[in-house]
Symmetry: C2
Subunit: 207 residues, 2 copies
């Protein structure tokens, strides 16, 4: 778009907003004009919250999840199973798993998955600190909860090999037909895995 | 969504972003996590640009468009036709009309249209200052370029009556079939107006 803005302030804000994922120049302009129509305190609160988020946020020294304290509420909660670690890609995945209310152990946030295409190797991820936790704490199970993609499974396998020498059970999220999905529209690889890993029908009543 | 955030900073930013139009909680969370992954200077630049926009922006004292100077570059440009005013709803409409490169006159940004449903009456819009400009300057034509909606046409009519006593030509954007549209999918009101206001075919070559 070759729009000429009457103000460099507007131009700058539009450029900044358009740098966010999923927000194009048109949406950015619409947002900027909305901000202009807002009360001044509201606009300042929005801008300041972004600055505060980036400059003020801290991460748990144990699991690397976002935390206001040195150790996050999950890691420091004696009511949670301290012998199980669920390995996830990012902060959002922790929220998703917490929302299932099916898990009472700890987490470990990798910060991504191994992806040579994006230049992300094992060293850029929190894998060494995971090995550290398994070595020093009394961990009995590590649950791999990474995406069921090529990159996710590569990372699963890398972690599996790194942890091979420790007496820890390594499990992976079940692959299978998504709840609500029809068999007809389930891909063959998933269908094959769901057949191989079929479960006793009676067990589904207890879950 | 009943997501529990590990950080009030994150929660606050998500709430702030979700208050923007067209951005829900899910998108807001995705944006906030993106901001967390950014370099600190980039995140600060984004937040600061929003604050600067709202606190620093100024409006042209003549046409009420966004401007860095007391009088905007359009109003102060001697190369533009100072006797024609195009009345628009907002700043974005000025950009849209400028982008057509078909207009060389001045603008007048109303700041909206009369909408009793939203509690917007003539007094909240820059109509009095438009009448002032027509009275004091040598204005020969006022082009009404408001939306072709009930509210837009109500505002057109209100302005038409306010300017009735001045020797100024008042015109309106042509209503007709949108370029690229099929007759079959053009509504009857538009089609009727386009028939009434049909133009000489030969004229289209010169435009």
């Amino acid at each position: 778009m070759d729009q000429e803005f009457a103000s460099t302030l507007l131009e700058n804000t539009v450029a900044q907003l358009a740098s966010l994922p999923g927000i194009g120049r048109k949406t950015a302009l619409r947002l900027a004009l909305h901000i202009l129509r807002q009360d001044e305190p509201a606009a300042i609160a929005l801008g300041q919250s972004i600055i505060d988020l980036r400059t003020g946020v801290r991460y748990c020294s144990e699991c690397h999840n976002i935390s206001e304290n040195p150790v996050c509420p999950v890691c420091s909660n004696p009511g949670r199973d301290q012998s199980t670690i669920c390995v996830v890609e990012n902060v959002k995945d922790v929220m998703s798993i917490e929302n299932t209310r099916q898990y009472n152990g700890l987490y470990h946030v990798l910060g991504g998955v191994i992806s040579p295409m994006d230049g992300i190797g094992p060293d850029q991820l929190q894998i060494a600190s995971l090995v550290e936790r398994v070595r020093n704490r009394n961990i009995s199970e590590v649950i791999l909860a990474l995406s069921a993609t090529m990159e996710g499974e590569t990372t699963d396998f890398y972690i599996y090999r790194q942890l091979g020498t420790y007496p820890v059970k390594i499990t992976q999220l079940a692959r299978g037909v998504s709840v609500g999905n029809e068999i007809e529209y389930t891909d063959e690889v998933t269908l094959g895995r769901s057949l191989l890993n079929r479960t006793l029908f009676a067990d589904s009543f207890h879950k």
